[in-house]
Symmetry: C2
Subunit: 349 residues, 2 copies
C-alpha cells in the first residue's frame, strides 16, 4: 500500500513525521509493508514552484491509496495573491479528488479534563462525529462576484450531493450508536428545506437510526450545553466548518483531533485539524496526537485495518493516562513532540 | 412615549408582563409617563386572524416609539404552512421596519457561575456585544429556488448595507472598550472579501478603535476558549445568528439575555433571546430577566434614558447577588416569575 505524505507548513512536517513513525511501528508489529511518498503542499510548495498544489503533488496523491497531510498556511504568505494562498491547496485537493465527506470525530479523553474550557461534567461521555459536506454549497457554487459596490455568493445543493453525504452519515450512525442529528436552517434557506426533505425520505431506509433535525443556531448552543447528547451530526459545508471548529474546543485540545476527507471508494486525505502554528514550528512543542490519530483513521478507513487503528488509539490513550502531555495541554508531564511520539511507539511494541 | 407590547407565544406573555411592570415601576420612580399598546404576534396572531404579523400589529408598532416583544413559536404551529409560521413574523418585522442592526450583549454575572457549562475562570470578565446585520445576506437575497432536484440560496451584500452596520459597530466600540472584531469568511466568500475591505477603509475614521479580522470558524472557537477577549463583534446575518446563539451559552442562562433590533433613528424592537418555551408556559417558571433587561435596553437606546436603564440593570444584578434565581438557573433560592419580578421592583423603589 502506498501512502502519500504532504507535510506542508509550520508544525506540519514534525507532526506528519511523528505519524509516519507511528505507522511504521504499527506496520512492523502487524507485519505490513507501506510505501511513503513525500510531496510538497501549501506555502512550502508555493515557495518551491509558485503554486500551493503543484501537478506533481496531485500525481503523487493519485498514485497512492491514501494521503496523510500535515497543515498549510502561515503569516509568511499573507501577501501572496489570493488564488495561490496556501489554504487554496485544501480546497483544490477536495475538488480534485471529489472528497465530499469530511469526518471529524470529537472524543473526550478523561486525562484531558483540565485542558477543556468546559466543566468536566459537561464534557464527560462526549463521543460524536461531525460529517461535513465538503465539495458543495457556498464554497464552490456559482455565481460568485464582487465589485466595488456589492458582492454575491451562491449556495447550491443538488439532490445527489445531499443524498450521498446523508447516506455516509446514516451508515456511520448505524455502525455507532444509531443516532443522527441533521443540522440545517430550514426555517430560512431553500437548500436546507431540500436537505431536510431528503433526510426525511432516506430515514425510512434506516429504521434502526433515530433521526433528529436541529437548526444550526440551536446546534451551536447544544454543542456547548450537552455535547454528550450527540452521536453523528451531518450538515452542509459552511455550517460544518463552523460547528466542527466550535466542537474542537470541547475536548480541550485542538492538537488531539484527527480528520478524514473521503469519497465513495477507499481513497481519502487524513489530517489533524490544528493549523500550522508557525509560532511554535520546529521547537518540538507541537502535539503530534492529531496527526497520529489521523493516521489511525487512514489505516481503518482507507485500508480496512481496524485492529491496527485500534492499537494506535489505545496507545495514545495509555500515554495520556500515564500523564504524558505536550506543551499545548494544561497539566501532566510535558514531553517534546519526539518524546511523546516515542512513548506511543513504546506502547505499540 | 408610546411602547408597543407584543407578548407572543409560550412564556412570551408572562415575561413581557414582568418587563412592563418593571418599566412602570421605573417610570414612577423617575417621574415619566409611558403608554403601553398591546398587539398580537406569532402563533397567537395566527390563531386569531390567520397570519403571524397582522396589519393591525404593524400599525400599532408604527405608531409607537419602541416595541417590546416576548417570543414567538411552538410545536402547536408545526403543521402550519411555512409562509405563516410564527417565526416568519420576526423576519417580516425586521424587513418592515428596516431593523438592520441586531445588538446582543453577553455579560457574565458572578452570581450565575454555577449555571454556565464553561469553567468560571473562562467566563470571568466576559462582557461583549455582538452586532449582527439583520436585513441582508442569505435571509433575504434573491434568487431563492427549490425543485425536487436542487435548491439555490443567494448571499448578496451591498456596500451600503455593510457600511451602515460596520458604522454601528465602530460607534459602539468607541463607546465601550475600543476593540472591534469583524468576523467573516474572507478566505472563501466574495461577500466576506467586500466586508473586510470596507472595514479596512472605515477604520481610518476610528483611530481610537483597535480592529481585528477573524474567520467565522476561528471565532466559533475563540468564543468558548476566551470569551473575555471580545468587546464588540460585528458580522453578517447568518454568521451572527449562529455565533450569537453560541455566545448565549457562555453566561449560563439564555433566560438572562436581552437583545435590540434597531435602525438609524431611535425606533427599535427589544426582546429576550430565549424562545417561547411552551413546555413551561403559564407555570411561573420563566426567567423574566431577559425581558426586563430588554426593557432596560429600550429605555436607553430608544428613549435615551440612561439612568433609568442603569437602575433596572443594577436592580437585576442585586437580586441575583442576593441569591434569588428562577427555575432555569442552577442553585440559588428559586422564585416564581412574579416573585422574582417583585424583588426587582422592590430594589427599584
Ligand atoms: C482553509 C479553509 C478554506 C478551510 C475551510 O473553510 O474549509 C478550513 O477552515 C477547514 O475547515 O479545513
Ligand atoms: C426564527 C429565526 C428565523 C431567527 C433567525 O434566524 O434570525 C432566530 O433564530 C433569531 O436569531 O432571531
Amino acid at each position: 500500500k502506498r501512502i502519500a505524505v504532504l507535510p506542508g507548513d509550520g508544525i506540519g512536517p514534525e507532526v506528519t513525521q511523528a505519524a509516519v513513525d507511528v505507522v511504521k511501528a504499527t506496520a512492523k508489529r502487524f507485519h505490513h509493508e507501506f510505501e511513503f511518498h513525500y510531496a510538497a503542499i501549501g506555502g512550502a510548495a508555493y515557495d518551491a514552484v509558485g503554486e500551493p498544489l503543484p501537478d506533481q503533488t496531485i500525481e503523487v496523491c493519485a498514485a497512492s491509496d491514501a494521503v496523510l497531510l500535515g497543515s498549510v498556511g502561515g503569516p509568511k504568505w499573507d501577501q501572496v495573491a489570493p488564488e495561490v494562498r496556501p489554504e487554496k491547496s485544501l480546497l483544490a485537493l477536495r475538488k480534485q479528488f471529489n472528497l465530499y465527506a469530511n469526518l471529524r470525530p470529537v472524543k473526550a479523553h478523561e486525562a484531558l479534563q483540565e485542558a477543556s474550557p468546559l466543566k468536566p461534567e459537561i464534557v464527560e461521555g462526549t463521543d460524536f462525529v461531525i460529517v461535513r459536506e465538503l465539495t458543495g454549497g457556498l464554497y464552490f457554487s456559482e455565481p460568485r462576484k464582487k465589485t466595488e459596490d456589492s458582492a454575491v455568493d451562491t449556495l447550491v445543493y443538488t439532490r445527489k450531493e445531499i443524498e450521498r453525504i446523508v447516506e455516509t452519515a446514516f451508515q456511520l450512525a448505524r455502525s455507532r450508536n444509531g443516532k443522527l442529528t441533521s443540522v440545517d436552517k430550514a426555517n430560512v434557506l431553500a437548500s436546507s428545506k431540500l436537505w431536510r426533505e431528503i433526510v426525511e425520505e432516506m430515514r425510512t431506509g434506516y429504521p434502526d437510526v433515530t433521526v433528529e433535525h436541529m437548526l444550526v443556531d440551536a446546534a451551536a448552543m447544544q454543542l456547548i450545553k450537552e455535547p454528550s447528547s450527540f452521536d453523528v451530526i451531518v450538515t452542509e459545508n459552511l455550517f460544518g466548518d463552523i460547528l466542527s471548529d466550535e466542537a474542537s474546543m470541547i475536548t480541550g485540545s485542538l492538537g488531539m483531533l484527527p480528520s478524514a476527507s473521503v469519497r465513495d471508494d477507499s481513497f481519502g486525505v487524513y489530517e489533524p485539524i490544528h493549523g500550522s502554528a508557525p509560532d511554535i514550528a520546529g521547537q518540538g512543542k507541537a502535539n503530534p496526537a492529531g496527526a497520529i490519530l489521523s493516521a489511525a483513521m487512514l489505516l481503518k478507513q482507507s485500508f480496512g485495518l481496524t485492529a491496527e487503528a485500534q492499537a494506535i488509539e489505545d496507545a495514545v490513550e495509555r500515554v495520556l493516562k500515564d500523564g504524558y502531555t505536550t506543551a499545548d495541554l494544561k497539566g501532566g508531564r510535558v514531553l517534546s513532540t519526539e518524546q511523546w511520539t516515542a512513548k506511543v511507539i513504546e506502547e505499540l511494541d
